[in-house]
C-alpha cells in the first residue's frame, strides 16, 4: 500500500493540536473524577445522612447512561434552562460526571477491603474518624484501589474520543474531518491510532510500574 507521506506530514500539526486537547481534557477530567471519587467514597464510608442516598443515585445515573447522552444533555439541554458552558467546559463536566462514579466505586472497594477490625484497632488507640481515614484506611485502601483507579483513568482518556459530538476538535474529530475532506482514509486512521497509542501506552506503562511499586510495599498483616 502506498501512503501519501506529504499528506501525513501536513496533517501532523492538526493531530498535534488534537492530542494536546485530548490530553488537557483527559487530565482535568481524571483529576476532577479522582477528587469527586475520593470525597464521595468517604461520604459513603462515613454514612453521612442525606448525602449518602444522593451519591448512590448519582452513581446509578452516571453509570447507566451513555457518555454521549450526558454530553448532549449538558450541551443542548442546559442552555434551555439558562446555563451556558463552552464546548470544552461541557466535555470536562460530562467526563467528570461519568468518571466520578467509576472512581467512587474504585475507592469504595478499596476502603471496604480494609478490614473492619483495622478500624477498631485504630479507634482503640483513640484516633478520631478523620485521623482514622488519613492514617489507617486511606493508605491501605489506595494501594488496593490503584489498579482500578488506573483502569478508570485509561478508560476516561479513551472516552475523550466522543467529544467530537459537541464540536470539539479532538483526535477522532480531526481524523473524521480529514477523511471527509481528502478521502485519505488509511493515512488519517493510521495517524489516529498512533496518536492514541502515544497517549495511552505511556500512561498504561506508568500504571503498571506504580502497581508493581505498591505490590512491593504489599501488606499481609
Amino acid at each position: 500500500m502506498n501512503l501519501d507521506w506529504e499528506f501525513i506530514m501536513e496533517s501532523l500539526p492538526l493531530y498535534g493540536d488534537a492530542m494536546w486537547l485530548t490530553v488537557k481534557l483527559a487530565l482535568i477530567a481524571i483529576v476532577l473524577s479522582l477528587v469527586l471519587g475520593l470525597v464521595f467514597s468517604l461520604v459513603l464510608f462515613y454514612k453521612v445522612k442525606g448525602l449518602r442516598s444522593i451519591i448512590l443515585a448519582y452513581i446509578e445515573l452516571s453509570r447507566n447512561t451513555p457518555l454521549l447522552v450526558q454530553l448532549f444533555f449538558l450541551y443542548y439541554g442546559l442552555p434551555k434552562v439558562g446555563i451556558h458552558m463552552s464546548e470544552f467546559q461541557c466535555a470536562v463536566a460530562g467526563m467528570t460526571f461519568l468518571g466520578g462514579s467509576y472512581m467512587t466505586e474504585a475507592f469504595r472497594s478499596g476502603i471496604e477491603a480494609v478490614g473492619r477490625t483495622q478500624l477498631e484497632s485504630g479507634l482503640s488507640i483513640g484516633l478520631s474518624r478523620v485521623q482514622l481515614a488519613r492514617y489507617v484506611i486511606l493508605p491501605q485502601a489506595l494501594a488496593i484501589s490503584i489498579p482500578s483507579l488506573g483502569a478508570n483513568a485509561i478508560f476516561l482518556l479513551k472516552e475523550t474520543s466522543i467529544v467530537g459530538a459537541i464540536a470539539l476538535m479532538d483526535l477522532m474529530n480531526v481524523a473524521k474531518d480529514l477523511i471527509g475532506m481528502h478521502y485519505k482514509t488509511a493515512e488519517s486512521l493510521l495517524l489516529l491510532v498512533l496518536a492514541y497509542l502515544i497517549l495511552v501506552l505511556p500512561l498504561s506503562l506508568l500504571l503498571t510500574w506504580v502497581e508493581r511499586k505498591v505490590r512491593h510495599a504489599e501488606f499481609g498483616n
Partner: protein, 262 residues
C-alpha cells in the same frame, strides 16, 4: 450473681481504687440478647480473667468497655464517669482503656515503630523524642528492641502480638483489655505472649483478659469471672474456681478441658 461478685471482690487487697464498675449491662444484636445484665468491678492493679464457652458474650463485654459496641442498658462507670450514657468522649477514654485484639491488627503499611507511635504522637500529641524513647524501652522489655524498623509482615504471629501489646502500653493506659490474644497463634508462640502479660501483671497493670488458656488464667488472674449465655455465673479467685467451682455450669465447662477422665 451480684453477691458472688461482691465476695470475689472482698478478698482483694490491691490499691483499693475502684477503676471500673459494670452494673447490669445489657447488649442486644437485633433480637438476640448477648449480655443480660452483667455486673463486674475492677480495682486498680487487678487482673480479671474472663472465661466461658464460645458465644457467651465475653468478647462482646470487652468491646462494650471501650465503646466498640454500644450497650442497650445498665451502667459502665469508669472512675465515676458513666460510659453507657450518650455523650461519651471515647477518643479521650480509649487513651486510658487500651485494647489488644485476637488478630493483632497492627497497621500493615507502617513500621513497628510507626505503629507504636501513631497514638502517642497523633492522639496524645506528645514529643516525638520522648514517645520514641518510651517505645524503644517497651520494645526492649518484650525482647523486640531490634525490630523497630520492620514491617508487620516481617514478624511472626507472636512477635506481632507483642508489638500490639507495646502499642497499647505506649499510650500509658489505666487498664488494658485483652481479647483472646493467643487464639490465633501457633502453640509455640503462645508462651512468649503470655509471658509478656504475666510481666505486666507483676508490675501492677490493671487488665481484663479474655482467654481460653486455662493454665495461664490460673496463674495470672486475681479473679476469674465465668460467663455463660450472657450472664456472669461465677466470680472467684483462681484457686477456688479451678478446684471447686461453685456452679454446675462452670464445672461442666472445666470438665471439657479435663482429659484425665477419658
Amino acid at each position: 450473681m451480684a453477691k458472688l461478685a461482691e465476695e470475689g471482690n472482698a478478698d482483694m487487697t490491691k490499691t483499693g481504687e475502684l477503676l471500673l464498675k459494670v452494673q447490669g449491662v445489657h447488649k442486644t444484636f437485633g433480637d438476640r440478647q448477648v449480655l443480660k445484665g452483667i455486673d463486674l468491678q475492677v480495682e486498680r492493679g487487678e487482673v480479671i480473667v474472663i472465661l466461658g464457652p464460645s458465644g457467651c458474650g465475653k468478647s462482646t463485654l470487652l468491646r462494650c468497655l471501650n465503646g466498640l459496641e454500644p450497650v442497650q442498658g445498665g451502667h459502665i462507670l469508669y472512675r465515676g464517669q458513666d460510659l453507657a450514657g450518650g455523650d461519651v468522649n471515647w477518643r479521650e477514654l480509649r487513651q486510658h482503656i487500651g485494647m489488644v485484639f485476637q488478630n493483632y491488627e497492627l497497621f500493615p503499611h507502617m513500621t513497628v515503630l510507626e505503629n507504636i507511635l501513631l497514638g502517642p504522637l497523633k492522639v496524645q500529641r506528645r514529643e516525638r523524642a520522648e514517645a520514641q524513647q518510651q517505645a524503644q524501652e517497651l520494645l526492649g522489655r518484650v525482647g523486640l528492641a531490634d525490630r523497630a524498623g520492620d514491617y508487620p509482615r516481617q514478624l511472626s504471629g507472636g512477635q506481632k502480638q507483642r508489638i500490639a501489646i507495646v502499642r497499647a502500653l505506649c499510650m500509658n493506659p489505666d487498664i488494658i483489655l485483652f481479647d483472646e490474644v493467643t487464639a490465633s497463634l501457633d502453640p509455640e508462640m503462645v508462651r512468649e505472649v503470655l509471658d509478656v502479660i504475666l510481666g505486666l501483671a507483676k508490675q501492677g497493670m490493671t487488665m481484663i483478659i479474655v482467654t481460653h488458656e486455662m493454665g495461664f488464667a490460673k496463674s495470672v488472674g486475681d479473679r476469674i469471672v465465668f460467663m455463660d449465655q450472657g450472664t456472669v455465673c461465677e466470680v472467684a479467685p483462681p484457686e477456688q474456681f479451678f478446684t471447686s467451682p461453685a456452679t454446675e455450669r462452670a464445672q461442666h465447662f472445666l470438665n471439657i478441658f479435663e482429659y484425665n477422665k477419658l
